[in-house]
């Protein structure tokens, strides 16, 4: 797609304004309540949650009914484990507020959004929502591979609750926005995943609700796509519409939201300023709070077949123990090992995960180095990255030891690393857009006019590639 982000934003803004001008837009009025949630709760049977796909069979249902009918064989009432995915949730959202909903996986965020979207039934409590609601819990819901892009735009639009006239009216803008161009009449099963997501998002972006409910759609797609999602949501918010969105992207929550709600174990435990709450949340995600040295000798785990890892600590540039480093500066972890019998071809592995358990990086010792071929006794092994490339945030560190063909020892989440904000390389401070950085080389060439001077032949033309 040759368009830049700014241009796309313009397209978006234009299309958005024109849609608003068509009368579907909001009218200025005094602030009022958009969403009221009272005592909301959702109970799940644990089995049903865990075994989402192993559905009940008729046989089980019948056999349990039959057993209950037989005299004397009445089976004891099965204590079905139940869990409240959401409990006692009260929330009032005013019109025009952009509320970020954060929390660990399984904390109940998505359940809340699904109840607000009227997809799942609450077990108790009530929700009142004023105005047209659009939920975007997934990008491209209802897309059918066999149908062409054009057909899917209509189908998906109808599914998201747009009227046919509305879709027809916006069709060209949707296609423009997606950048699909000539492929619009190709079945979407032939699309690349990027094209697919772009088209799906283009449809969603032209939805004009009073209340927009968005689940972690930012998690999919490439960086550019995520930026567009954020840009779009910012516009929706600035337009006085109400947005409620779940995200794991703290930077997005901070920059977009006027309010943030932290959910833990199905309850709202914090509600207020996004900066304060995301900071607190990040802190709570730290696995081993403030521990400088991790003693591993007595740690048990399923992967500790032959424990050689004894301790681990993070050190700063001066070798002093630490728990945090500045962005793009040196990172060093020191691992104490005790190898009782000589092991050959050892490989030490440092695993770095983010707060959601996603592997960000794996650092491995060079197996070819002679020193790892035959190691015995107590050693301190150090692993250092001069310019640590991960973005500011909190990470968990795990360690592993392998021989040539098997893992002999591994421990997870033993240390926590905080990467603090600061100057990135020498590029200056930045808004963090992305998950990692790399040092890059930039050059400014001679003035462009000189390159295509008639007297100076274009080097590409002057030297045709040898056949």
């Amino acid at each position: 797609m040759p368009t830049t982000f700014a241009q796309q934003k313009d397209v978006l803004q234009m299309s958005y304004n024109s849609i608003s001008a068509n009368g579907a837009g909001p009218k200025k009025k005094e602030t009022s309540t958009a969403i009221t949630v009272r005592g909301l709760g959702k109970e799940y049977r644990i089995g049903a949650m865990r075994e989402r796909h192993s559905y009940t069979t008729l046989r089980e249902a019948i056999s349990s009914k039959v057993t209950n009918l037989l005299p004397g064989r009445r089976s004891a009432p099965q204590p079905t484990a139940r869990v409240w995915a959401l409990k006692d949730v009260d929330l009032t959202v005013n019109e025009g507020e952009v509320v970020g909903v954060i929390g660990r996986n399984g904390s109940g965020k998505s359940t809340l959004l699904k109840i607000l979207s009227d997809i799942v039934e609450p077990t108790e409590g009530s929700v009142e929502i004023w105005g047209r609601v659009a939920s975007l819990l997934e990008v491209g819901t209802g897309f059918h591979g066999e149908l062409t892009g054009r057909e899917n735009v209509f189908l998906n639009g109808a599914i998201l609750g747009m009227r046919m006239a509305e879709i027809r009216q916006n069709f060209d803008k949707i296609v423009d926005f997606s950048g699909i161009g000539q492929f619009i009449d190709t079945p979407v099963k032939r699309y690349s995943s990027g094209m697919y997501v772009r088209l799906a998002f283009a449809v969603a972006a032209h939805l004009i609700p009073r209340v927009l409910i968005v689940d972690e759609v930012l998690a999919v797609g490439d960086f550019e796509f995520q930026q567009r999602c954020i840009g779009r949501m910012r516009e929706v918010g600035q337009d006085g519409r109400t947005v409620l969105f779940v995200s794991h992207n703290m930077a997005a929550v901070e920059s977009l939201c006027s309010r943030c709600v932290l959910i833990d174990h199905g309850r709202i435990i914090k509600d207020g300023d996004p900066y304060e709450i995301t900071r607190e949340y990040r802190r709570s995600m730290i696995a081993t709070d403030g521990k400088v040295v991790a003693e591993l000798e007595n740690v048990e785990g399923p992967h500790r077949k032959q424990p050689v890892l004894m301790s681990a600590r993070l050190v700063d540039e001066d070798g002093a123990p630490t728990t945090s480093i500045a962005v793009s500066r040196a990172f060093e972890v020191r691992i104490g090992v005790r190898i009782r019998e000589a092991l050959s071809d050892l490989m030490f592995v440092v695993r770095i995960e983010n707060g959601y358990g996603e592997r960000m990086m794996t650092l491995r010792s060079p197996q070819k180095d002679a020193v790892y071929r035959n190691l015995k006794g107590d050693h301190e092994i150090s692993c250092r990255v001069d310019e640590f490339p991960l973005a500011p945030g909190v990470y968990n560190i795990g360690l592993g030891v392998k021989t040539r063909d098997q893992q002999i020892d591994a421990v997870g989440n033993i240390l926590s690393l905080t990467v603090t904000d600061g100057e990135i390389f020498s590029e200056g401070r930045g808004v963090v857009w992305g998950m990692c950085f790399a040092r890059s080389n930039w050059n400014v060439g001679p003035p462009v006019t000189a390159m295509f001077n008639e007297n100076t032949p274009d080097p590409a033309l002057a030297a045709p590639p040898a056949s």
Binding site: I119, E121, W130, G131, V133, H144, E146, I159
Partner: protein, 290 residues
């Protein structure tokens, strides 16, 4: 500010942002079901259109299959059963192929839409768990898609009528009503099975098998007249017998058995209401269980 409480699926028109949606625990009810369908008519249209469109994608013969399936079935069955004297001789003078086809057409419509309808909710699990829309649109759309096939396959019947010199009679005007009746009975049972399939996937296997057995209990390949008086009652309570026989009668211009058709209509009406009631009562659980 006159705010209107409304829990149905009206898309918002002017002053839309003043509409209130209330979400509470509780079963869905038959109330508002027609209203919901009416306001989601565009979605209904697109779902039907998708089903029709996708069904014959990437097939060389395309929509011809809608014609070929019952035609081939007719050919095979008329070879097999045309020789069974008790059947072929009792068709009231109608050539067996056309007798058979005029029965297979409504029956195939019923059985395919029944199976399609039963799987419609599970088959659209992605929609059910991610989007709010009246769930009842799914079985309705799958029946509507079947009507399109029925319409295409009817052309063969018209061809057969011309071939066998069956006169075109005024009774053909009853066809839309019978198609409506067939759609309703299919939807009635289909909604029950669709809801049951969400919880018990067994019905994915039960329904096609059941449809197969059911065919032999319905006067599709044989005329109702050969059924002995002892088993007549079974024929009467089978709502399909009245509808299939009625469909055949209006095409061939033969006498309509009003008693059976009347009973079938009553059972159909009851089944439609019962199916819709059961579906609505369980639909709010779908997203949790599916």
């Amino acid at each position: 500010m006159d705010r209107v409480a409304d829990s149905s699926f009206k898309p918002d028109r002017e002053h839309s942002h003043e509409r209130l949606r209330v979400i509470k625990p509780g079963r869905g009810s038959l109330k508002n079901v027609l209203q919901d369908l009416w306001y989601s008519r565009e979605l209904l249209y697109f779902l039907t259109w998708r089903d029709v469109k996708v069904r014959y994608k990437q097939t060389t013969l395309g929509v011809l299959w809608a014609v070929l399936q019952p035609t081939l079935q007719m050919v095979v069955l008329s070879i097999v059963f045309g020789r069974v004297a008790g059947i072929a001789r009792n068709t009231g003078g109608t050539p067996y192929p056309i007798f058979l086809y005029s029965g297979l057409l409504p029956w195939t419509f019923f059985s395919t839409t029944l199976v399609g309808c039963s799987g419609s909710v599970v088959g659209n699990a992605a929609l059910v768990t991610k989007v709010r829309f009246p769930r009842i649109a799914l079985p309705v759309a799958s029946v509507a898609a079947g009507v399109v096939d029925l319409f295409i396959a009817s052309t063969v019947l018209v061809g057969l009528m011309i071939w066998y010199h069956v006169p075109i009679s005024i009774s053909l005007l009853g066809v839309p009503l019978l198609v409506l009746g067939l759609s309703c009975i299919s939807l009635g049972f289909g909604m029950v099975f669709a809801a049951l399939t969400v919880t018990y996937r067994d019905f994915r296997y039960v329904v096609p098998f059941m449809a197969q057995i059911w065919m032999f209990l319905t006067p599709v390949i044989y005329p109702a007249s050969i059924v002995s008086a002892k088993w007549r009652w079974l024929m009467m309570i089978n709502p399909l017998s009245g509808l299939v026989a009625g469909f055949r009668a209006v095409f061939l211009g033969t006498r309509i058995d009003w008693t059976t058709l009347g009973i079938s209509t009553l059972i159909t009406a009851f089944m439609l209401l019962a199916g819709a009631h059961y579906f609505r009562a369980t639909e709010r659980r779908f997203a949790d269980v599916i």
